[in-house]
Symmetry: C2
Subunit: 198 residues, 2 copies
């Protein structure tokens, strides 16, 4: 990036943020179709038409790029296709699962990153998914409590245990569905919802 | 392997099976400790003290070796630590999850192989885990039906939907636990069990 006279530091910063955003937007399209399999940083650059040097300028590693692609894709789909405000706690996850149906590459990317996070030497993924799961458990546990107060979820259920169970069910069902399209994610999530209900 | 005169074809075959079994047994120990991360076929050979050529003789690829390690480890643990005959359907999965607690490397190997199976170009993993999940769903669905007949599980629950849900819950909770040991797999599985109960 050259420091042209008219470019203030602030302008250069904004341009960098925009460029990084553009790279992520293009990468999301590529990954939504075909996932992350066998993609070196160089191959990713070729697929989205960005030089390897430019990619390395914006992302410290392939792992960091993949995490940012996943984070940006999730933010985008949350903005474009928000669950209804009156969603139940399981309905919230069912909505996300239905949305994911259209982008199997991103579900693959998610499972690849999560599996990587469980292994040694993937600290960025471990930090990102550790925090993401903890946030999601807190969020869903607070929804469970709210539904218990509203008389819709059984009062004898521990909100934290239910939150972990709902996330696990949603993740695990998506894995089974990707391996066998006859697995019906929504039917099993609706079963869980009815079991939790008063 | 040389064809010594006293070695019949059958004897050579048996010797090959034994040798393959020995390699898998040693590989299980290595993977139980540290998972499959960053292990080329060559590095695996070094870790278990087997030449690269010998490994390639017995296993077509790294992926095939890893699948066979996982299969052998699961068979071994099913033999050594069988769930009680009167286990409930969820109890069966809780028993497996408790057993897995002691071998985080094998849980990592499982998640790595499953994540790989979801991507293009991993046909052996896809075939193995597609069949494994389908078998497990059938097995658990038949247990759900048996428990319904015995009056222990609610009669209004679809056995197939429950089976997929129980497997998903068990897999997803193990992932969350590996990222955060505060997640209590057994508490959430016991919750699911109580929800399914009459």
């Amino acid at each position: 990036m050259t420091d042209a006279p008219e470019t203030t530091r602030r302008g250069a910063y904004d341009k960098g943020v925009r460029r990084r955003r553009e790279i992520l937007d293009r990468a999301i399209e590529v990954f939504a179709e075909r996932g992350a399999e066998g993609t070196s940083l160089r191959a990713i650059g070729e697929a989205i038409g960005v030089s390897h040097a430019a990619l390395k300028h914006y992302f410290a590693s392939r792992e960091e790029l993949l995490i940012e692609v996943y984070r940006a894709a999730e933010e985008r789909s949350m903005t474009e296709d928000r669950p209804p405000a009156d969603s139940t706690v399981v309905g919230f996850m069912t909505h996300a699962a239905r949305r994911n149906h259209g982008v199997p590459g991103l579900v693959q990317l998610y499972s690849t990153l999560v599996a990587g996070a469980l292994e040694e030497g993937h600290e960025p993924s471990r930090a990102f998914f550790g925090a993401r799961f903890a946030d999601l458990r807190r969020f869903l546990a607070s929804r469970v409590e709210a539904e218990q107060k509203a008389g819709r979820i059984r009062p004898d259920i521990a909100p934290e245990a239910a939150a972990a169970l709902i996330i696990a069910a949603s993740d695990g069902l998506q894995t089974q569905w990707l391996l066998d399209p006859r697995v019906n994610i929504e039917t099993s999530l609706e079963l869980l919802e009815s079991l939790l209900s008063t």
